[in-house]
Every structure is written in structure tokens, then in C-alpha cells.
């Protein structure tokens, strides 16, 4: 269940024949309360959902009424029981059973946070239960029901492992089919069946398809259709013509026996799926009986209790307090006082904004390495190389934003847990004794958590780096098409083979390591801060060589053999333009200069000379530099297949010059870069083509500033860093104007 809001002023409150104990957090225009029936004892906890029709959009009210009509006709252990509905003081309400647990998305997110993979058999058990509820709902006589919005937030799981489907608001049934808008696709796109995305006629097998997607995602730890790189229309077109990968191919831990079940539920043609959800449930049940016969409710409950150990007791205590409060105050309540409604915004722009961020992989760009230090700069970790701990420059709002959820510094317990898991992993993969020394959290790209440490194995002490995928990327929050974990390891190894100084991978983390997805790589000594590389006297003799070195490294990057790297998505200039166009349109703040930028890009889209592996974020700040030059190229999360000139152009964007006078990373000339690239076999460089990507890079950065500054919820309070970044939008735009109006150097 959602957590309690802070304020309890005005509660408990009489509401019809119920007493509202406290508001529950809820997204959307309705309000949600924990309540008790006021008439009988012992009190039974329930959840009351309300909406004021005049304050919500007509469609929401229609769904609310629909849910009331449909849900009261259903009764099954795998569906949330809705036992009352009606009107109190001009508010529509639904009363339903309280579930002492969480929704499936929260379960997933907690697993990600605790770096526990959801055990395969528990994933199968949960979906088996979901199918059981669906099979019942689909078969209620005369109702002809399709839920149409099966997705993790709508599947509740109690701490005692009961699985309960909720939110029948979007359901199509014989009760409301007449009112359904023809040709309109309901439901969440990421869980939409092909027939649903095409707005064709649906039946229970469309819900089965969504259950299949959830199963796929629980098994692999990834989103099946991450909205990482596509526009809304593209997502819809994916949903219409899906080509799901075998779960075992995506995540080697998945047994191939489950591929069959999963892919049958995900057949594009519904005639090729299971005949109904009961058949799918049976398939899952048989799988469990054969492969994990000990998996039952008690087994699942133990897992959930462990997962939420800290919360269960606290929440029960809070509820006991609320009930005590209710008993103490019930008598004193005025008889017919209307409840205070907690109305929120009409929609959830936050979700849309997250989607945008993910679409753009903005996180990586917003967080160059000189992030605010996680530890006080007075005591920098005694480590060089990888991410430095450079303090912020005075007077500037730096483009360094931690995403919500990324801790500034792990607590002591978390750190101890990490230390133990890491020691075990080192022993497992590299040998005894595996002692860890000097473990230090490094500031770094916000897309990963980065730790530096020394590991003692056999006779040697190895300087290493641990990078873990952050929780958000594993959760149901839209994941960008970021390359990480085993994929990143494969890419880095391919890069090594091509002669690129990429981090050397020592360990690809496995589920049994309990460290989440990620890698352990060899730590390379050197400087990463762009400003220091460009100003420090010790690099005075190095700087003149760096542009040429970038050229030959890039030629090698673009030679990387993509065999086996089919996870790298293809991104054309046109696709990127569409994504950034969507950002500009997400805010009601049309700026002439942004429009000029986007139109210029659209009118100057180049023909890519070829399509190859592209680093995607190749720039000063992502290199480890020593007196001898670039020792390592970091941050491969944005790698994709595309136009190689993107890497050359992005390297020249003024934002990445860090105070240096020269166009290439602040340290070198374009001629040096291009000549070295050609000499190293990268192919001939058309300077105008590189300039296109440099100019487009400026527009991209400007739109990232806009998105960050205007915030995920327009008008909401935001932190000072984010607000300040909004005011940096003119910097790249002025650079852009200069680029497109001056003759090439």
C-alpha cells in the first residue's frame, strides 16, 4: 500500500458510513484514504477512493464509475474486493479491501534497491496467481470482461504473498462497451498487446499478453519495451509489431523452459497464445511442480517478509496508532462534516517527464564528472584515476545533477553489506583471500554507482573499480537504452580487441554476487576532470597530443566488430531529432531560437557515411589522462550504432572544452583530430558533417537544460541545482548561432 502522508490534521474524519483515518499517497486526480467502517467493531480496515466529478476530467470520472460498476460484480481471492460504492457529499467513492503489502512495481524497485534478483520461481508463482485472477475475471458470465490495464502498479502483493489485481477502471465489459471510444487504445503502452495498440477488438488473451510482459520483465530484470529511444508513435508501432527476445537470451539466469511459456503468451497473433489465462496458469503451475516444487505461498511470503522487513513492523505500528487515534476521537467527531479532499493535479506529468529523460539518456549528459563531491572535498579518497573529487567551480551552476534516489553517500550498514558482498564476489571470481581495502564511493556519472577499492588476492593487491547499475534503471521506471552489466562488458572487450583503451573487465557480476548488475574493472590512475586536464601545468606537454590521440582512438572505436553486440540500438540523426523535438514540445514555452535550432537540424540532416559502433559520449571529462596521454575511455552507457561523425562533433561542443581555448575538448585543433582519424583508418572526414553534429550537440544540451530547469512537474518546487541549470540554456544556443553563421575555420 502507498505510504502515509505526513499531516494527520483533521483525521479521523467521518465519511458516509466510514471514518477516514489518513490520506494515502496516490497519483492522479482521485484521493485515496485508509478507512474503517464506522458502524461495527472490530473495525475492518479498508481503502476508500474518492473523486469530485466536477474537478476531474470526464474520462477519469467515467473510468471511476466503470470501476464501481464492474468491480462490485467480481469476487475472487486474486482480485481486490470492492464492496461498496456511491456518493457522499458530492464525492464519488469506492470502498475496497485493504491489502497489507505493496504493488508489484514496488516489489521490483525494492529488489533493485537491495540488489536482490527476484527469484525465478517466485516470479513464476506471482504470475501464476495473476493468471488465476484473470482467468476468473474473464469468465464471469455475461460480463465479457477485459481488464485492459494489466501492469505492475495494478498488481498488489500482500506481505503474506496474496496476489490481487486492482484498477478495473479501464476494463471493457458488456456494461460499458457501448460507451467505449472506437479506435482508441486504452492502457499503458509498455504493456499493450499488438491488437490493443491497433485498437482492435480485445479479449482475455490481450490481458494474457500483458501478464506475459510482466513475467518477461520479472525474469530478466529489464523492460521488454523500454521507451528508451523512441517517440510515442514508435512505441505504439513497436507495440503493434512486437518481436520479443527470448528471456534466456536477455538474462542467462532464465531457464529455457520458461522461454516457451513466456513467448507463447507473447505471441503477436493472439490465436497462437494460450487459449485462455487458465491454460497459461496451468503451464506455470506445471513448470513450478517440475522445477521448483517447494514454491508456495509460505515460501513466497518468506521472501517478501525479508524484502520488506523494515517496513512491515513500522507500517503495522503506524496503523495501530491510527486505530487508537480513531477510537479516542470517534465519539468527538461532528456527525456530518464533509471529508477534506486532497486533490492533486489532473495528470501525472512526472511520468511523462521521466519518460523524456529516459528517452534522451539525459542523465548521463547532465552529470559530467565534476559532480558535487559525495564526500567532503577536504578529505578526498586517496585514489587517483577514474572519477575525481573535484570541487565545484565558484559562481556556476554546474551541469551536475544527481537523480532522485541516488544517495549522496551510503549509510554505514549499506556500506558494510556492500563490503561483504564484494569480498565474497572477489573470492568467488578472483580468488582468496579477497580482502577489500580502501573502499571509497566515487562521484561519477549519475547513471551508475561507482566505487574504488583495492582487492587482495593471492600475492597481489589489485586496484579495481566496481560499477553498479542504479536502482532506477532496474525498476519499472522507464529504463534508457543504456548499455550496462554483461552487455557493457562485452562491448568493452570488443573495444579492447579493436585497440581502444577501454576499461579492462575483471568480473561481470552475477545474481549470486548480490551486487546487482554491473562490472568490476581494473582501476587506471590519472586525471578525469576536464578543467584540470586543460589547465594543470603537469599536462602542458600532454595537451598538444590529445586531439590527435582522440582521432586515432575514435578510428578504433568505429572499427569495433559489432558481432555479438546486437543489443546496441541503431540511432539515426533523424531519430535523435524526433526525441529532442518531443522535449521542446513537452513544455508550453516555445523559444524562437530553439525552433531555429531544430529546424536547422531538420534541414541539414546529413547522410551517414556508414553505420558503425558509436561511443555516444566521447568527450573531455570521460577520459582518464596521464602525462603520457589518454589512458582510458570511460562511460560507454550511451554507445549505439549510428553515424561515426557524431563522436567527432560531440567532442568539439564548447560545453566540453572546460576553459580550454581549442575547439577539440579545449585542448586541440580540429585538423589534428581529423588528420589522425583519417591516418588511423577511420575514413575521410567531411568537416561540415562534423560541424552538423557539433551544432546539433549544442541544441541537445540546450534542451537538456530546459528539461532540467523547468522540472518534471511544471510549477512545482525544485532544487536549486536543477533550477540553475535551466538558466544555462543560452550558453550552447549562442555557440550554436556562432557555428551556423560563421564560415568554417
Amino acid at each position: 500500500m502507498p505510504s502515509f502522508d505526513d499531516g494527520l490534521e483533521g483525521y479521523p474524519r467521518k465519511f458516509g458510513r466510514y471514518y477516514l483515518l489518513c490520506p494515502l499517497t496516490q497519483r492522479g486526480p482521485g484521493s485515496l484514504y485508509l478507512a474503517v467502517s464506522g458502524e461495527r467493531r472490530p473495525e475492518r480496515l479498508s481503502v476508500i477512493k474518492t473523486v469530485r466529478p466536477e474537478r476531474a476530467e470526464a474520462e477519469y470520472v467515467a473510468r471511476f464509475r466503470n470501476e464501481a460498476n464492474v468491480a462490485v460484480k467480481l469476487s475472487h481471492r486474486n482480485l481486490i474486493r470492492v464492496f461498496d460504492s456511491g456518493l457522499v457529499a458530492s464525492e464519488l467513492f469506492l470502498a475496497m479491501d485493504f491489502v497489507d503489502g505493496r504493488d508489484l512495481r514496488a516489489v521490483w524497485n525494492r529488489c533493485a534497491k537491495k540488489q536482490v534478483a527476484i527469484p525465478i520461481e517466485i516470479a513464476v508463482y506471482l504470475i501464476q496467481e495473476l493468471c488465476n485472477g484473470l482467468a476468473y475475471a474473464h469468465s464471469v458470465p455475461d460480463l465479457d470482461l477485459v481488464h485492459r490495464d494489466i501492469s505492475p502498479p495494478n498488481v498488489l502483493v500482500s506481505y503474506t504473498s496474496e496476489v490481487k489485481l486492482t484498477k478495473f477502471g479501464s476494463a471493457a465489459s458488456s456494461l460499458e462497451r457501448a460507451q467505449a471510444v472506437p479506435g482508441f487504445a486504452y492502457g499503458k503502452i509498455a504493456y499493450m498487446s499488438p491488437e490493443q495498440a491497433r485498437a482492435e477488438k480485445l479479449d482475455g488473451r490481450s490481458d494474457m499478453y500483458a501478464a506475459g510482459i510482466i513475467l518477461w520483465e520479472l525474469l530478466t530484470g529489464r523492460q521488454l519495451f523500454p521507451p528508451g529511444k523512441d517517440r510515442l508513435q514508435d512505441l505504439l508501432s513497436h507495440a503493434r509489431n512486437p518481436t520479443p527476445m527470448r528471456p534466456s537470451k536477455r538474462a542467462p539466469r532464465v531457464p529455457e523452459t520458461l522461454d516457451t511459456i513466456c513467448l507463447k503468451a507473447l505471441a503477436a497473433d493472439k490465436a497462437e497464445r494460450y487459449a485462455d489465462c487458465d491454460e497459461m496458469r496451468l503451464a506455470l503451475q506445471r513448470w513450478l511442480a517440475h522445477h521448483a516444487p517447494a514454491t508456495d505461498a509460505a515460501y513466497t511470503a518468506r521472501f517478501l517478509e525479508q524484502l520488506f522487513a523494515e517496513d512491515i513492523e513500522r507500517e503495522r505500528g503506524e496503523r495501530a496508532d491510527l486505530l487508537a487515534r480513531f477510537r479516542a476521537h470517534a465519539a468527538a467527531l461532528p456527525p456530518d462534516e464533509p471529508p477534506r479532499a486532497h486533490h492533486r493535479g489532473p495528470s501525472d506529468p512526472r511520468a511523462a517527464w521521466r519518460w523524456l529523460l529516459a528517452t534522451l539518456s539525459v542523465q548521463a549528459h547532465l552529470s559530467p564528472p565534476a559532480s558535487p563531491p559525495a564526500s567532503p572535498p577536504a578529505s578526498p579518497p586517496p585514489l587517483s584515476g577514474h572519477r575525481g573529487t573535484g570541487g565545484p567551480a565558484p559562481e556556476r551552476g554546474e551541469p551536475s545533477v544527481r537523480l532522485p534516489g541516488e544517495a549522496t553517500e551510503g549509510g554505514a550498514t549499506e556500506r558494510d553489506a556492500l563490503l561483504h558482498a564484494l569480498e565474497a564476489a572477489i573470492r568467488r571470481h578472483l580468488g582468496a583471500p579477497g580482502e577489500i581495502r580502501e573502499l571509497a564511493r566515487l562521484t561519477g556519472g549519475a547513471t551508475k554507482l561507482t566505487w574504488a577499492f583495492d582487492a587482495v588476492v593471492a600475492e597481489a593487491t589489485l586496484p579495481l573499480i566496481l560499477q553498479q547499475a542504479p536502482a532506477e534503471r532496474l525498476g519499472f521506471a522507464p529504463a534508457a537504452s543504456a548499455v550496462q552489466g554483461a552487455q557493457e562488458a562485452a562491448l568493452l572487450q570488443a573495444a579492447q580487441r579493436a585497440g581502444v583503451p577501454a576499461p579492462r573487465v575483471r568480473i561481470v557480476l552475477e545474481p549470486r554476487d548480490h551486487l546487482g548488475e554491473g562490472t568490476v574493472t581494473e582501476r587506471v590512475a590519472g586525471e578525469t576532470l576536464g578543467r584540470k586536464i586543460n589547465t594543470d601545468a603537469r599536462f602542458a606537454a600532454t595537451r598538444p597530443k590529445l586531439a590527435a590521440q582522440c582521432g586515432s582512438i575514435l578510428a578504433a572505436v568505429h572499427r569495433i566488430d559489432a558481432t555479438g553486440l546486437d543489443f546496441l540500438v541503431e540511432q539515426t540523426a533523424q531519430a535523435q531529432l524526433a526525441a529532442y523535438r518531443a522535449v521542446a514540445d513537452a513544455y508550453d514555452h516555445p523559444l524562437p531560437v530553439i525552433e531555429l535550432g531544430l529546424r536547422w537540424v531538420a534541414e541539414n540532416l546529413p547522410e551517414a557515411p556508414r553505420t558503425c559502433v558509436v561511443h555516444g559520449d566521447f568527450r573531455n571529462g570521460n577520459f582518464i589522462v596521464g602525462e603520457d596521454g589518454i589512458r582510458c575511455v570511460l562511460d560507454w552507457e550511451l554507445a549505439h550504432r549510428g553515424d561515426p561523425m557524431l563522436d567527432l562533433g560531440w567532442l568539439c561542443v564548447k560545453t566540453w572544452r572546460f576553459g580550454g581555448p581549442q575547439p577539440v575538448g579545449g585542448f586541440g585543433t580540429r585538423d589534428d583530430l581529423f588528420l589522425a582519424y583519417e591516418r588511423a583508418g577511420g575514413g575521410s572526414v567531411d568537416p561540415a558533417h562534423v560541424r552538423f553534429w557539433e551544432a546539433f550537440g549544442c541544441v541537445k544540451w540546450a534542451l537538456m537544460c530546459m528539461a532540467k530547469g523547468l522540472g518534471e512537474v511544471p510549477g512545482a518546487r525544485r532544487n536549486v541545482e536543477a533550477a540553475a541549470i535551466g538558466r544555462r540554456i543560452e550558453e550552447p544556443l549562442l555557440d550554436f548561432l556562432e557555428l551556423i553563421t560563421t564560415k568554417e575555420a
Binding site: 558535487p372 565545484p392 559562481e395 524562437p592 572546460f658 541545482e721 549562442l734
Partner: protein, 127 residues
């Protein structure tokens, strides 16, 4: 706006002074960084209080001349954005480019004067 004094820029100066000279030296790590960003934001607001009104009027006048009719600045700016998007104004129109360049430079005088003032080699750090 009250007639009482001190005026807003003076109030801000007092706040900036306190944050910069007394609070900042006591801070480290996260809060030190946030305090610096806050100082930067306050300095922006202070510059905008002084420069903003004149800039807005100048921009409005340029927009009216570019579009050939009078109006509020925001409405004119929106109209220009629409025309650029619709393709009814040439991308290389010198008057358009000059207007955009000036608007950016004026905004940078408030948001980050160093971006336009610093000679090359002394650019503000950007990350």
C-alpha cells in the same frame, strides 16, 4: 511594490554577503556546493532586477519590428517561434539572426556574464 527601503538589490546584496562571507566558509561537501549554486542564483536575480526591464522592452521592440506589428513581448516571441517552426521565415534572415543573437547575449548578461565577457582561455568552468 512597497515604498520602503532598502530596495531589492540592496536586500539581496546583504543576503549574498552573509552567505558568501559567513556561511560558505563553514560549509563543506554537498552543502558547500549547494550554497555556491544558491549564490549564483541570487546573483542572477540581482542582475535581472537591474537589467531585466530594459532588456524586455528592447526585445519587445525588436520583435515588433521583425514581425511588423505591435504586441506583448511573450506573445510576439511565441508568434516568432511559430513562424520559424512553420517555415514562413528564412533561417538565414539577417534580421532574425541578429535578433536572436542579441536576445541570447542579453540573457547571458544576466545568467552568465562570463560566457560572453571572458576572453578565450578564461571561460568559466562548465562542469
Amino acid at each position: 511594490m512597497p515604498a520602503s527601503k532598502p530596495e531589492p538589490p540592496v536586500l539581496l546584496d546583504a543576503a549574498i554577503d552573509y552567505l558568501e562571507r559567513e556561511l560558505l566558509p563553514m560549509l563543506a561537501g554537498y552543502h558547500r556546493f549547494q550554497c555556491r549554486v544558491t549564490l549564483n542564483v541570487l546573483a542572477q536575480v540581482r542582475r535581472e532586477l537591474v537589467l531585466g526591464p530594459g532588456q524586455a522592452e528592447a526585445e519587445r521592440a525588436r520583435l515588433a519590428s521583425l514581425l511588423g506589428h505591435p504586441g506583448e513581448r511573450d506573445a510576439l516571441s511565441r508568434e516568432l517561434a511559430g513562424r520559424i517552426r512553420a517555415g514562413t521565415i528564412a533561417l538565414d534572415d539577417p534580421a532574425l539572426l541578429e535578433h536572436l543573437r542579441r536576445s541570447l547575449i542579453e540573457a547571458l548578461r544576466i545568467n552568465n556574464p562570463k560566457w560572453i565577457e571572458a576572453p578565450e582561455g578564461e571561460e568559466p568552468d562548465r562542469g
